[in-house]
């Protein structure tokens, strides 16, 4: 036919098209230049450099609080690394993951405290950690086995159940052993060959080493037969089976590795806070680990660590009302800048928003002085700047609650609308959001943190569906 027989196959003229996504991802400009520069450096060198920089962190700050945040961040990063194997690489929806974290913590607690026996058990830390981690890996296998094919919904339910059972068990079943709701206290600090780790900085370095070692190990696995098997099974279990990959065994292994990593993090966590309490291993915490993995880009080792870092640091910032406010308004502004195009429309919306606020404040102030008597709850410069823009009644609770409901209904309406109507509705809704924030949300710190984290995730997923460091999914047509 049209191709001469002796010429090599000339397929792939569409390569340019196929690679256009990649080109778009890289783009140009300084950030792309940094990405390209990083790509030239090997993976291990990058890991070493970043680890060295992170290792400097405790030396640069004198605040124990900051290092403590660092420890929590590294714990979350380790957990995200383990979950990434299960969810990111193998595609198993494990909703009981945090229970393995708890299992590690309680396991270590029982082996390193006065809890069991007349004078307690006080194993050397390394021994206790090995016992607990191996037990967790076996428990992972055991839990995976009855889930036979370890498929989507079935596995999700079994693991969710397991997560609940774990919390129930340590809280109610044998309070003498696990301490019931009060947990286990008085856990020995980590000790390695007679050396006790007692400072926050010490735990930071232990965790840094653990994180780096796990990252290295996972990187090796990723490029090994096992890693390829995991990803093949996630992608197409049937095709994987046709390649003689033992699909169920491969899934079980991933599940078990995840359990072991989580348990390892749990042992260090228990030693660090010298206690293990049931509430540390509840579902909200599971969501945080998932948030880290997804935010960082499911399937990427560095992404899991980066995602966990962003989640952990963001949550910490949200503890302080004025920082939370900066984040809240910053997020709204960022969303507007990204989503509202062209620039003229964006300018019009912002100008209308400012004018709308002052107008509402003036009108309501003229009608009733008490309706504007309150002060924005956001402290700092944000609160000051909003003083005569957003209305805050003397008693904000009632109006705030009503406004919250209206805001949610308004958001639902906003999604349905199109064109000009949408833009017009956007202005009062944004104002309403500020109102709800200043009257209610900022005062309800714990709920607000969850809502904001969710919002950040949604915004992020819109801007970059593959996560911070994830690679775009390739679809075969």
């Amino acid at each position: 036919m049209s191709t001469p027989n002796d010429a090599p196959p000339r397929i792939g003229v569409d390569e340019w098209v196929a690679r256009s996504g990649e080109r778009r991802d890289r783009g140009s400009g300084p950030s792309a230049a940094i990405v390209r520069a990083l790509e030239r450096v090997g993976w291990w060198q990058r890991l070493a450099v970043i680890a060295a920089i992170v290792a400097l962190f405790p030396l640069l700050t004198s605040s124990d609080y900051a290092v403590r945040v660092g420890v929590n961040t590294l714990l979350l990063a380790t957990l995200a690394l383990g979950l990434n194997v299960v969810v990111g690489w193998t595609g198993l929806l494990d909703l009981g993951y945090v229970a393995f974290y708890g299992f590690g913590a309680y396991g270590f607690a029982l082996l390193s405290s006065n809890q069991l026996g007349s004078s307690g058990i006080h194993l050397p830390s390394l021994l206790a950690i090995v016992i607990v981690v191996v037990a967790a890996a076996l428990l992972g296998l055991l839990l995976g086995l009855p889930s036979r094919r370890l498929q989507g919904d079935y596995l999700a339910i079994v693991t969710l159940f397991f997560g609940q059972i774990f919390v129930e068990t340590v809280t109610n079943v044998a309070p003498k052993v696990t301490g019931g709701p009060n947990g286990v206290v008085g856990i020995d600090p980590l000790n390695f060959f007679g050396l006790e780790v007692t400072t926050t900085r010490g735990y930071f370095y232990v965790l840094l080493i653990v994180t780096v070692v796990i990252m290295g190990a996972l990187h090796l696995i990723d490029s090994s037969r096992t890693g390829r098997g995991w990803r093949a099974v996630r992608e197409d279990p049937l095709a994987a089976a046709l390649m003689t990959i033992p699909v169920n065994k491969v899934k079980l292994l991933a599940f078990s590795v995840g359990a072991a990593v989580a348990a390892l993090a749990g042992t260090i966590f228990a030693a660090f806070q010298a206690g293990a309490y049931p509430t540390d291993f509840d579902t909200p915490f599971l969501i945080l680990v998932y948030a880290g993995v997804i935010l960082g880009g499911s399937g990427s080792i560095a992404g899991a660590v980066l995602g966990a870092t962003v989640v952990s640091v963001t949550l910490e910032l949200l503890r302080n009302p004025s920082q939370a406010a900066t984040l809240f308004y910053g997020l709204i502004l960022l969303t507007l800048v990204v989503r509202v195009r062209p620039w003229r429309k964006l300018g019009a919306v912002l100008a209308a928003l400012v004018a709308f606020g002052f107008a509402v404040h003036a009108v309501i102030g003229a009608i009733s002085a008490s309706a504007v008597a309150g002060h924005p709850r956001s402290g700092g410069w944000v609160g000051d700047a909003l003083g005569s823009w957003v209305v805050v009644p003397a008693d904000p609770k009632g109006p705030g609650n009503i406004a919250f409901v209206v805001l949610i209904l308004g958001l639902v309406a906003l999604v349905q609308l199109k064109g000009t109507a949408r833009t017009v509705l956007l202005v009062p809704l944004l104002y309403l959001a500020a109102f709800v924030w200043e009257t209610r949300l900022v005062a309800e710190a714990s709920i607000t943190r969850q809502i904001l984290l969710g919002a950040i995730l949604i915004v992020m997923m819109n801007a970059r569906p593959q996560g911070l460091l994830g690679s775009k999914r390739v679809e075969v047509l």
Binding site: I11, A18, A239, L242, T244, I245, S471
Partner: protein
């Protein structure tokens, strides 16, 4: 039913004995008997929904027949798992290729040799790269970003990595341009020339018969014709059975 003139001395790689397969209550295959000899290239022809893929699935063990036997080099594997059968020297190029899209070309090939862990695969890589130089150039490219023709090559290369004695192919020319289809058949002939037994499912009867030793024609789950390719091509039975319907 005639099986054509295959030299009786040839060992039989694959033998389906009066296979009947159901999906639920619906009978899809009825008394299908097929043989592939060592190093033979056999094509399985038939129109849409005539049961060609079901035949391959029965051979692989993805569906179990309600009666009949599947023999692999004389061994009854009717009740064996997929992995066992594939481990006995069978490999498949599945319908629609099913390459692992987010993995690189090299990783896809390595997965094809999953069972041959720890062995020296240089020879296999060389073989595959000689057949498909393109795969060599594209080692680090993600499989999902390959063109359709390249994905077909990858699926074939991946199957060859396990060094199969019997290669099953389900409509390897589906979705390819006419020029690529011709190339594809040339490559199948080349693979055949290296001594691999091949059972290729096709709708494109003339093209398939031009390279095959023998052919079977399926019609609504029954083998209605079985003969040497040259005779199938020469007779007008084929047209009646398959094209005319």
């Amino acid at each position: 039913m005639r099986n054509g003139d295959r030299a009786a001395s040839d060992a039989i790689l694959l033998r389906l004995e009066e296979i009947t397969t159901h999906y639920g209550p619906i009978r899809i295959l009825e008394q299908v008997s097929i043989e592939v000899g060592e190093g033979e290239l056999v094509c399985l022809l038939g129109g849409n929904a005539s049961g060609k893929s079901t035949t391959l699935k029965t051979i692989l063990g993805l569906v179990r027949p309600t009666s009949g036997r599947v023999l692999l080099r004389g061994e009854d594997v009717t009740n064996r798992q997929v992995s066992y059968r594939v481990g006995r020297g069978m490999a498949i190029v599945p319908e629609n290729r099913r390459v692992f899209a987010p993995l690189t070309v090299l990783e896809n090939l390595e997965l094809g040799a999953y069972l041959r862990h720890g062995e020296d695969l240089r020879e296999e890589f060389e073989r595959v790269y000689t057949l498909f130089p393109r795969l060599h150039e594209r080692g680090d490219q993600l499989a999902g970003t390959l063109s359709g023709g390249e994905q077909q090559m990858l699926a074939m290369g991946r199957a060859l990595m396990s060094r199969p004695r019997l290669l099953l192919m389900d409509e390897p020319s589906m979705g390819l341009s006419p020029a690529l289809v011709e190339q594809n058949f040339e490559i199948i002939a080349q693979i055949h020339a290296t001594g691999v037994g091949i059972l290729v499912v096709e709708q494109n009867a003339n093209m398939a018969l031009s390279i095959a030793d023998r052919g079977y024609v399926l019609q609504t789950g029954q083998v209605v014709l079985a003969n040497r390719s040259s005779e199938l091509l020469a007779s007008d039975e084929l047209k009646k059975a398959y094209l005319g319907r």
